[in-house]
């Protein structure tokens, strides 16, 4: 049994607590124990960086230090949390002065950033720690006949320094979907477009235009559903889609939900039956 510290951010608590339940079930099936890093805070959502970058580094150095104190590597599902925290780690590792300054503040809480643990996103964790084989072996209900559009989201591929896969031609998501038995649709026109989640509260119109493009090309490519490892992209597809003037009604899924379903967990328990845009496929 592999143990890893799970960073929840804002996406796996409160209204979205069920998403953490899904995660736990999914990971149990592939022999991974998620240890919830309860004392962590919001990563700042790449917005605190607008206020002050050092504040973003400090918040996330603290988040990382909390996992280090437990002797655990850190697993992050949200693309944005992953990127923001990975950027902070890079800054702390590279800049000795910054590290000293922030560690001085963390002392009050008895914490220290040492740079000793690894930070994983779902995709590299599945690829490097779990392995596609173990995923394949855990499948009890192959997604036969499911045509799934692979959607990565931006913050796992860009910038280069924190990317978890080849940014130009990534493959981990397709490999995972193939292991689940799905037919992967990875060539559709707007597969690399931004999901628009982050502009919903800065320029809503931009979000709706992005959704229109992505969902339109997913439909055109003949996919039944979109799969993304990022809970924010998923929310943009499932929730913000309903804000469109004419929602195309393209269903989407958060990758661990699809995995849970393929691992034999019921549609209800996997979370797939709770979406605003109904997942009709069985």
């Amino acid at each position: 049994m592999v143990k890893v510290g799970f960073y929840q951010g804002c996406c796996f608590q409160g209204q979205d607590a069920h998403m953490f339940e899904t995660m736990k079930k999914t990971f149990k099936a592939i022999d991974v124990e998620l240890v919830l890093l309860e004392e962590t805070t919001c990563c700042g959502g790449n917005t605190i960086d607008e206020e002050n970058r050092k504040l973003s580094y400090a918040i996330n150095a603290r988040n990382i230090a909390l996992a280090e104190a437990k002797g655990l590597d850190m697993l992050i599902s949200c693309n944005t949390c992953y990127m923001v925290i990975a950027k902070a780690k890079r800054a702390m590792d590279k800049n000795k002065k910054l590290r000293e300054e922030i560690n001085n503040l963390l002392k009050e809480e008895g914490l220290e950033y040492r740079g000793t643990n690894r930070i994983y996103h779902l995709l590299d964790f599945f690829r490097d720690v779990v392995g596609y084989d173990r995923i394949r072996k855990a499948v009890k209900r192959p997604l036969k006949g499911w045509k799934v559009a692979a959607y990565y989201g931006c913050h796992v591929l860009y910038p280069r320094e924190t990317a978890v896969d080849n940014s130009d031609n990534p493959s981990s998501l397709q490999e995972i979907l193939k292991a689940l038995g799905a037919k992967v649709i990875d060539e559709y026109e707007n597969k690399d477009a931004c999901c628009g989640y982050h502009s919903f509260y800065t320029d809503k119109n931009m979000t709706l235009k992005k959704l229109d493009k992505i969902l339109g090309s997913v439909r055109e490519a003949g996919a039944d559903i979109i799969a993304t490892p990022c809970p924010l992209c998923f929310k943009s597809f499932d929730i913000y889609q309903t804000n469109m003037e004419n929602p195309p009604g393209v269903p989407s899924s958060f990758l661990p939900e699809l995995m849970a379903y393929a691992f034999g967990i019921s549609k209800e328990e996997s979370g797939l039956s709770h979406h605003l845009i109904k997942v009709e496929k069985d």
Binding site: G14, E50, E109, Y158, A193, Y240
Partner: protein, 372 residues
């Protein structure tokens, strides 16, 4: 010798009605620019592309390979073949620019857009001597603030890859914001110009950037436009431009994360768009499902110490007053009203396993929505 197929975009507006692709077999050695020069020298002298310095300085050979923006002289052929696993390499001109011929694009439009952001120094006479015999000295530590931005060579890679340019005609472009920001942190530049740049940046789409980070990825010189855009947004709010939704979102993040360690997505629509209905609708929907909605996030364990760290950093950066303490007090009151105890007690009690009793039960209740 190992070879690869380049499928090159061809278009001559004088002759061709529509663009087409032409295949060329090129050696896999050196850079993509070497391959294009090989075509020009050995296979087809009619192929047009821009290139000059061959050493990542002039910025004229940016183009797209299988949809991804690359500077041809910086991109090894070997790397391309490995990345695309032997697939043909489709070479296209940059996006968002008019094609003049083949891979040559018209760059006038983004240059004009950039100029609207005053990307030059407007000297402050109190700092810059007017007497030409005296120098205006820049110290190394000052240069630190814009040492990356000055490397922009106008290759338009970021303009091509930009998600905001794609869907917003007026959007000035990542490089333009970086070039503007470079003067926002220059001591020699006069305050009135800095103010104007912010004003023009806002009307040029400052809040429309989606923060996808593609500009950081494609920039051959290590400029980080998306981060400069964040810096400009911070400056805009500090200079009093607080009416845009993005500015209100920033305030929400700064205040709520300090107060509770989390943002509050239930209140975001209201605090950004004045949409109270979104919260009420969601709360009602949950109540109908038999779930009680708590309007504040679960306060993070160690919250009071977290607050100290937060405030200490802001103070050091002379930004402590960006926190709206009356808003924070309101949030504190919401927390204590719901949990019938003051915030310090809650943070302590909530995490005592078993002892919190009902309080823990309550905190397991739901909070936070996600609809504008």
């Amino acid at each position: 010798m190992e070879t690869a197929t380049l499928k090159v975009f061809r278009f001559d507006p004088d002759k061709d009605k529509v663009p087409y692709y032409q295949d060329y077999e090129v050696p896999v050695e050196g850079t993509l620019l070497n391959a294009l020069l090989y075509i020009k020298d050995n296979l087809d002298p009619t192929l047009s592309f821009r290139a000059f310095c061959r050493s990542e300085v002039c910025g004229s050979c940016a183009m797209k390979v299988n949809g991804k923006t690359k500077l041809a002289c910086k991109t090894p052929m070997k790397e391309l073949v490995e990345t695309w696993k032997g697939k043909p390499l489709r070479i296209d001109p940059l996006d968002h620019l008019k094609v003049i011929r083949d891979l040559v694009v018209d760059i006038d439009k983004p240059i004009e857009k950039m100029k609207t952001l005053i990307p030059w120094l407007v000297p402050d006479p109190r700092v810059v001597p007017t007497d030409p015999m005296h120098e205006s000295i820049i110290y190394p530590e000052e240069l630190e603030a814009y040492k990356d931005q000055i490397h922009c060579m106008l290759c338009f890679s970021c303009y091509s890859a930009c998600e905001a340019v794609e869907d917003y005609e007026r959007y000035r472009g990542p490089f333009a914001f970086s070039r503007a920001y470079r003067f926002q942190v220059d001591r020699r530049d006069i305050e009135t110009a800095k103010e104007k740049r912010i004003r023009y940046a806002i009307s040029g789409g400052l809040w429309s950037c989606v923060q996808c980070q593609k500009c950081l990825y494609v920039c051959p010189k290590g400029v980080k436009p998306a981060e400069d855009i964040q810096n400009l947004r911070g400056q805009a709010v500090r200079k009093g431009f607080t009416d845009k939704p993005g500015a209100k979102k920033l305030k929400h993040y700064v205040d709520w994360i300090y107060a509770t360690g989390q943002i509050n997505r239930l209140y975001l629509p209201e605090e950004v768009y004045g949409n109270r209905e979104a919260r009420e609708k969601l709360t009602k929907a949950y109540e109908e499902m038999g779930v009680e909605v708590w309007e504040v996030p679960k306060p993070t364990k160690g919250l009071m110490k977290f607050r100290d760290i937060y405030l200490e950093i802001l103070s050091k950066e002379e930004k402590a007053l960006d926190l709206d303490f009356s808003h924070v007090r309101k949030i504190d009151k919401m927390v204590s009203d719901i949990f019938k105890a003051d915030i310090c007690t809650i943070v302590d009690r909530v995490h005592e396993e078993g002892k919190g009793g009902k309080l823990i039960e309550k905190l397991k209740g739901l909070f936070g929505g996600d609809n504008g």
